[in-house]
């Protein structure tokens, strides 16, 4: 059995994991492999990529404002015109906590030059506060994925199966690939499924929580008020598909989420489900990302980044490579997975949790 030595093994199937792997190889000259399968063309979507989110921390807004142009340029270069789409998503809230959070988001987004306009109740429903966000960017995962795979291949990043994984000391990992063994000095776990399947229990961050989530594809003939809609109270995301139908992603068991979606979209009668999956997902207890190892010599985590994660990929790759700027480093260090309750809070608004007091 031959052994190949690499610097990083990036675990995951999402665009974020692929882009980070590719950036570590292409921009930072590291030897990299990715571990996992490309799924976007035949599996139900479980998350979306969006350049805006209900973020309430100004330092995160500032970082995002600086990085979105760089990330979107990279994504367009990899995936062409079909990969990146400009959309005007709608964020809305029904309850007082979500409505307040929407206000904080609105002022922060406006301060960073994002066009935010209220949506009239006639379009969105009485008693509901809603904002249309202008010119956000979203990634068409099914279109982007094949081009990402091709880019990774060009950059010398191999995709390996996660069938045989052996975590070693100091955050290293060995991956069995047929007759070969690939030894990586640093394992980086990105997607929820990857972390759930592979993170050793003793390295589990205290703030990382498991939550039941569901994703439903419907054949609804109704058209949504916006191409992407996010309900802040529950964290439910609705996506209108070009082909017709709608994808919904959110918290709860499959049965409960199905009921919630029927109520939310005011479907009369039975919701016409044409695809559904319930799954376990992760969230940090304070809504902020968890980055890096939990123990000094543990595997690296990149989780809790939400829909904007891929637009922060260049920063995250620089940080992993030890080449981040002082400001980028400070932002990442404040969100380290081993932060526990020490240091100043970096909490963000979290949908679906009972809101806590500061």
């Amino acid at each position: 059995m031959s052994e190949t030595q690499v610097d990083f093994a990036v675990f995951g199937s999402s665009p974020l994991s692929g882009v980070i792997a590719g950036l570590l190889a292409s921009q930072h000259g590291r030897k990299v492999v990715t571990v996992g399968s490309a799924l976007a063309r035949y599996r139900l979507p479980r998350a979306i990529d969006l350049s805006v989110a209900p973020i309430t921390r100004p330092e995160t807004w500032a970082l995002l404002a600086a990085t979105v142009p760089e990330a979107s340029k990279l994504i367009a270069k990899i995936g062409g015109r079909g990969a990146l789409r400009r959309v005007d998503p709608i964020f809305f809230a029904d309850g007082p906590i979500g409505t307040e959070a929407l206000g904080h988001f609105s002022h922060m987004a406006s301060a960073y030059g994002i066009l935010v306009e209220p949506v009239p109740p006639s379009k969105i429903g009485e008693g509901r506060k809603a904002l249309r966000i202008g010119d956000a960017l979203t990634i068409n995962r099914p279109a982007f994925e094949p081009t990402l795979e091709a880019w990774l291949t060009r950059e010398g990043v191999k995709r390996l199966s996660d069938a045989a994984i052996f975590f070693g000391e100091a955050g290293s990992v060995e991956i069995g690939a047929g007759e070969n063994l690939v030894a990586a000095r640093h394992a980086v776990l990105v997607d929820d499924t990857t972390i759930l399947n592979h993170l050793p229990g003793w390295q589990w961050p205290s703030q990382l929580l498991r939550r039941q989530q569901a994703s439903i594809l419907t054949a609804s003939s109704q058209h949504l008020a916006g191409p992407i809609m996010l309900q802040l109270d529950s964290g439910t995301v609705l996506v209108q598909h070009e082909e017709g139908g709608m994808a919904a992603m959110g918290l709860g068991t499959l049965g409960a989420f199905s009921t919630a979606i029927a109520e939310l979209t005011a479907e009369s009668g039975q919701l016409q489900q044409v695809g559904q999956v319930g799954f376990e997902a992760l969230a940090s207890s304070d809504g902020a990302p968890l980055l890096g190892p939990v123990v000094p010599e543990g595997v690296q985590l990149l989780t809790g980044l939400g829909p904007t994660g891929i637009f922060l990929a260049p920063v995250l790759a620089r940080w992993l490579a030890g080449e981040a700027s002082a400001e980028e480093g400070a932002w990442c260090d404040a969100r380290r997975a081993d932060r526990g309750n020490s240091g100043a809070s970096v909490a963000e608004f979290t949908s679906g949790f009972e809101e806590r007091a500061a």
């Binding site: 035949y42 007082p96 989420f257 009921t259």
Partner: protein
Amino acid sequence: MRPDTNRLPATTGKGLAGAYIERDRPIRFTINGRVIPGFRGDTILSALLASGVDTMGTHSGSPIGLRESAAPAITYAHAPTHALPMERTPARDGVEYRILANGPSPGLFSRLFQPGRTLGLTLNANGSLVRPWRAIKGERGASTDLVVIGGGVAGMAAALAGARAGLQVTLLEASPHVGGHSGLFGTQDGENTPQENIAALVSEIIASNAITVLTHAEVFAIGENLVRVHQLDTEAEPVTSRVVDFSARHIVIATGAFERLPVLSGNRLPGIAGAQEAFELAYRYGIWPGHSWMLATSGNPAYRLATLLDGSGATLDRILEGRDHANSRYIEFCKAYGIRQFPGTVPTAITPGQHGRLSVALPHGEPVVVDRLVLSGGWQPDLTLWHLSGGESRWNPKRQRLEPIGTVPGVVLAGSAAGHFTRRGCLTSGLDAVDRLLGRSGPGVDDPVIDAYYETPDRQMSAEASGDAAAPTYLDADDALMLRPAAPQPRHWTQIFRGPGKTPVRVLSEAPQPLSIGAICAGVGIGLIPEESAGIVAQERVALVPLHPASSAQAVTPAEPPPVPAYLADRFGPHAALVVLRHDPAWQLGAGALIFEDEDALDPRRAIGVVLRTRDGKTEALLAASAKKLVVRDLGQAIPAEIQS
């Protein structure tokens, strides 16, 4: 129009004269105002097909065939309260029916002058072939010990085994008759004929007081100890329908297997049928359209159709075999009959020919024109209800099919649905299913599968995608009308005037239709779905109808937010305080408005506070301890403020 346009003569042998119809009792009914003749015993669908109506209309710009797996629902023209499936509804003399389908309805002119063989539907809307009963909540039905879904050999054996074990059994069969689909598969050494076997089981069931048989009862949803059924009352005049929820401690799924649609251009044109479908139309209703026909298959039982039809007057042009080297006793029989066979040959495309015929393009030589094409892509266990109940499956690369794995509490599979394709295997798996449900140790399943050396396993059949195909390619023969995904076409300038048009979906993950098991198999066959993910995708993309919708489990945020939300913690230093602001009362400051010390400051990182809310006319804010002079930025305005308390 005659009731026997497409029927074999009443004297046809080998059981193909139509066992369910009474040729001496003609009937007539209307559908969308058009008079259709038939015989007592026909369904609406069989009467239409027998009369030469074999086309639903158009889909994706091409004619699409009318068949049992994809037929529009109907209702009564003057009392549209009951949606009925035309393939399960017995045709009644003098009744007027209307078709239920989304999309443009044919106008009066079109209805009066419809071409002979089409229903004239335009099926471009997603979900055109609506099944309205799927949206109806079920009324509470009887509670029983054991529900057996599927009245084939395995289902009947399971029902009898349950009754012998002292259980009250309800046997649900979707079609008008029990018996299942074993007729085409013939016999193995020492076996009775399927008909003899079925007759014996039926008489034993009739004699049992513990078994209730409901025909015309299609199960379309399944949950924990519950099945939802669309049931027709055919004793009523007119036929009525209802949706019923049956509860049961145990459930046996014996829904059999279905025949896969080969993936090639034009695979759902009118005049195309599967081998099992063609056999059953002939056996049950004596239907066989046209004279010349061709068989293209990659499964062995389809060959039996060729030998059964020999001498019926239908002329078999040739058999195309999709496998390079296939062995089967059925293949040998066909050789003995002198039928031409072309191994390793898959049609490249099918196009409509002149006079309603089909032109079958071959890899070599001129296209062959026939009246009817029988396409068989091998058999696949029907795992739809298994997936709906939470069961899992895995792709078997040797047998090229999805097979069930794991267990579901209170639910077991039996017969072909469980992967047993011999009649003995089906019978014994029905008995074994009840043993497993009751936790009894039994003799297990005796499935005498003939070695693959003598009976080559089925394979899928597909042709390469062609960008200039004249007719669309479907992934399955079902009512989802799922087209083979295609790469996006470049925009053409004429789209400015006529719009982008309807094109196939580009990826399966966003297709606004459920993916049937057949479509999943096709997806694996043409490389859209990796084999190792086929089972997961099949479970994800089944058309699930939730039976026990729990109350919403989404975390409902409390009515009142906390004084300072956690996401503002430490934002303005560790000693930030909750204060009430005094400002121009003409302004109601919104939550999130940032507070600065400097009128010109705009950078949120330099904010010294934030407005939390206005409550009881007071503006509450979170403010850094050092704050002195205050300017609130709201809606682009700088509003002076000061601390009131």
